[in-house]
Symmetry: C2
Subunit: 457 residues, 2 copies
């Protein structure tokens, strides 16, 4: 095994430690689980120096026991039954990295019922069953921690729950899915169609064989719902999120966005609205135009980046890997160290599950699509270049305020395209204008609309 | 007072809370202190919802009591004697935001001796007296917290001490001084000399009347020494840091760096070296060239940005305001919430002061300047453009590996300048080459050398 260079100053951490090691039972030993096991072993000395005690995986549940044996070696109990880990009295913390929702919910609830803390990297589980799981954990006084479920290695849950506690959060906007960001970067850099970029991502291991959860925006929506809960003190409301993936995104729009000084990113946005008549939260995942000079536009490949606007801190940004075995393990182990740094009695109470105490969590309505407000990019195919005037007239008649109106660069023999940047407007107003445009005789094909996120206020 | 919109769901937080409010005594009510007071008042409901109890400033020490009275209004005890706050039995936490080192040390040590937690934004204090203060706090079982002392609102201490605990940190490189970053941005964007950019920064309030601590790199070195302690488990070793400011930086080098695809940033670098013969830490603050396409190069104006390379997480970056009253208050209050979330007994023990338990902190030698290794930018004024060959020959004879050698763009009548990018090399080898260059008859003036930080490995 790789010998940690700091081990020299901690001769025998497990034996010398005043407190016995934290005993971890791990459900699942796939990509994240094996990475967690590997990093815990490699860095055991430095982790013990930080945690004040050792952290040892004592039991692992896996479907393929032979393969699990190869990964964990001797000295770790193996079982094919995750419930055995959830209920074993010699396990202090259950690490759930098996994925999925139904069975994982049962294991996690059983672990909580048996007084165990839970660390999970399973965003789907928490997006769907979060409120139930957090309530059960609060009642039992145990912690459910999930840093690895939101932005891989980036400590964004910690930043929201603990680092920005002084603030009213105004919005969170993030690139929280590495697969789609890799695809979008390919589409831009190499002028690829979505399908070709997806195929490349799959060939390089950046997209799964069944990429639906990623490319349809579901994974990003899971994470955005968790971010919103931590930002605004609302329950996890994934089911109410507006979710749009990148499967319909055309390369012409990536190029036209570029012409206007923007890049297309799949953004998860959670924004508090408290103006008259729209008190609530925008919760949505959509491909959106971001100013090319903006830091978030520089988040390329499979990296993630999350920007937070808060009333006292102003804008802060967090950036890091958006995929990877050890990268996710970094977050899972940080949660384990957090648990290890407290004695059992207090671990559950220190930080509330979404940063707000249970009595303070309240429903904030997720605003319906029509009530969401933002600037828009429109691409309007027209019969002739001179129809730009007709498009301008039509938008004025619809009272949709326009910031910029320009012809797309492109081959002279192609259909002329009018590109429009609108001012911020209600989605309902944009929809009316789109309807009118589509009905106009000067319009030569489907009008495309994408949100523009200026990320300024 | 501004009414916090979330207060509606927390009818009377202080009365309903199961635990009494945390009582804060504040030493200093200047920029940071008044911001802290203002944000605590404005966001009291949301802060209580997160902390599980109220946080109330009950006593303030100030030199100008009349001015303090204007800021805090009624209901807060005022004193001209900070020691009264440090020793008052009705104060739970002392917030030290007065600045300075000598008297602040005495106040903080007195507060610790009286069993109080301390929150401070005073980097100079901790850079100079950190080891003594942390040892006293550990002995008393109280916490000394200092998120606001390192990167204003960016929760970088939390990221290093808690978010990245799984990792061996390889390096930390940060833009941690807003004043100098503002000046460097002005020099680049407007082609200004250092003196003119400094004057603009002073006129706009981004630099103090006496800017020495900022422009000479001392403030950045305070912060970098704190980052190194948290990254590597070593004591705070500010006195050993290599510190160079930006006062000698010439605008021609900002322009030449640009020609080569780099930007000049004042970087604080803490890098673990464990190769043969150089086991230790590079700890240094210097103007350095950063690739222009790199995220850290996009940190402009008075913003701060810190990049961390860790063995499991890979690269993560943290970005936010590098100055400001409420921006710093955000971090001070986050520390207060951390204290409030624990009962008194456990607050001191949860997270060790620099992330490593006291018995695991060990001296790591700060490497002497000669043993520091990096790539370099050299600007060599020569007699004639054709002397580029002589420069190349001379560097080859000195065995300094060169990556690029090019003539600077510039007016035809100006002294020709040979620009050199070296491969990574020991400072001692670079110094020898510089000496040889300076002695060469083809060289027409002082040779300039700046570090290049590729931030890649």
């Amino acid at each position: 095994m790789y010998r940690d260079p700091v081990s020299s100053f901690l001769p025998q951490p497990s034996r010398d430690a005043a407190i016995r090691p934290l005993r971890v039972g791990m459900i699942g030993i796939g990509t994240v689980g094996s990475g967690t096991f590997r990093v815990l072993a490699r860095n055991q000395a430095v982790i013990a120096a930080r945690a004040g005690r050792g952290i040892e995986v004592t039991m692992v549940a896996a479907r393929n026991l032979a393969r699990a044996q190869e990964i964990v070696g001797e000295g770790v109990a193996l079982t094919a039954d995750p419930m055995q880990i959830a209920t074993d009295p010699d396990v202090d913390v259950v690490v759930e990295v098996a994925g999925g929702t139904g069975p994982a919910r049962d294991w996690v609830l059983a672990a909580i019922a048996h007084g165990k803390h839970v660390v999970t990297a399973n965003k789907a589980l928490l997006a769907v069953h979060g409120p139930e799981i957090f309530a059960a954990a609060s009642a039992q006084g145990v912690a459910v921690m999930y840093e690895g479920a939101v932005a891989v290695s980036i400590p964004i849950v910690k930043a929201l729950r603990e680092g920005l506690t002084a603030n009213r959060i105004e919005w969170v906007a993030g690139i929280v899915n590495g697969t789609t960001n890799f695809i979008l970067s390919k589409m831009r850099d190499e002028g690829l169609d979505f399908a070709d970029a997806l195929a490349q991502a799959q060939a390089l291991g950046y997209a799964e064989a069944d990429p639906a959860f990623d490319i349809e925006g579901v994974d990003a929506a899971h994470k955005t719902a968790l971010l919103a809960a931590n930002a605004f003190g609302m329950p996890v409301r994934f089911a109410d999120a507006q979710v749009e993936g990148i499967t319909a995104l055309q390369r012409i729009d990536v190029a036209c966005a570029e012409q206007l000084g923007f890049r297309v990113k799949l953004l998860g946005v959670a924004r508090r609205r408290s103006n008259e008549g729209e008190d609530g939260v925008e919760l949505r995942v959509q491909p959106a135009l971001v100013p090319a000079t903006h830091l978030l536009a520089q988040v390329n490949g499979s990296m993630n980046g999350i920007m937070v606007k808060a009333d006292a801190a102003g804008v802060t940004m967090y950036y890091g890997a958006g995929a990877g075995s050890e990268q996710t393990a970094s977050a899972v182990i940080a949660d384990l160290v957090d648990v290890a740094r407290l004695d059992g009695t207090h671990a559950g109470q220190r930080v509330p599950h979404t940063g707000f105490h249970a009595h303070a969590v309240r429903e904030l309505p997720v605003l319906p699509r029509a009530a969401v407000r933002s600037a828009h990019y429109l691409r309007v195919p027209v019969q002739a270049a001179t129809d730009i005037a007709a498009v301008a007239d039509l938008l004025a008649a619809q009272r949709l305020p326009v910031r910029q109106l320009v012809l797309a660069n492109g081959p002279a023999d192609a259909t002329p395209q009018v590109l429009v940047l609108t001012e911020s407007a209600l989605q309902s107003a944009v929809d009316l204008a789109l309807h009118a445009l589509q009905a106009s005789p000067v319009v030569a094909g489907p009008v495309i609309a994408l949100r523009v996120e200026t990320l300024e206020d």
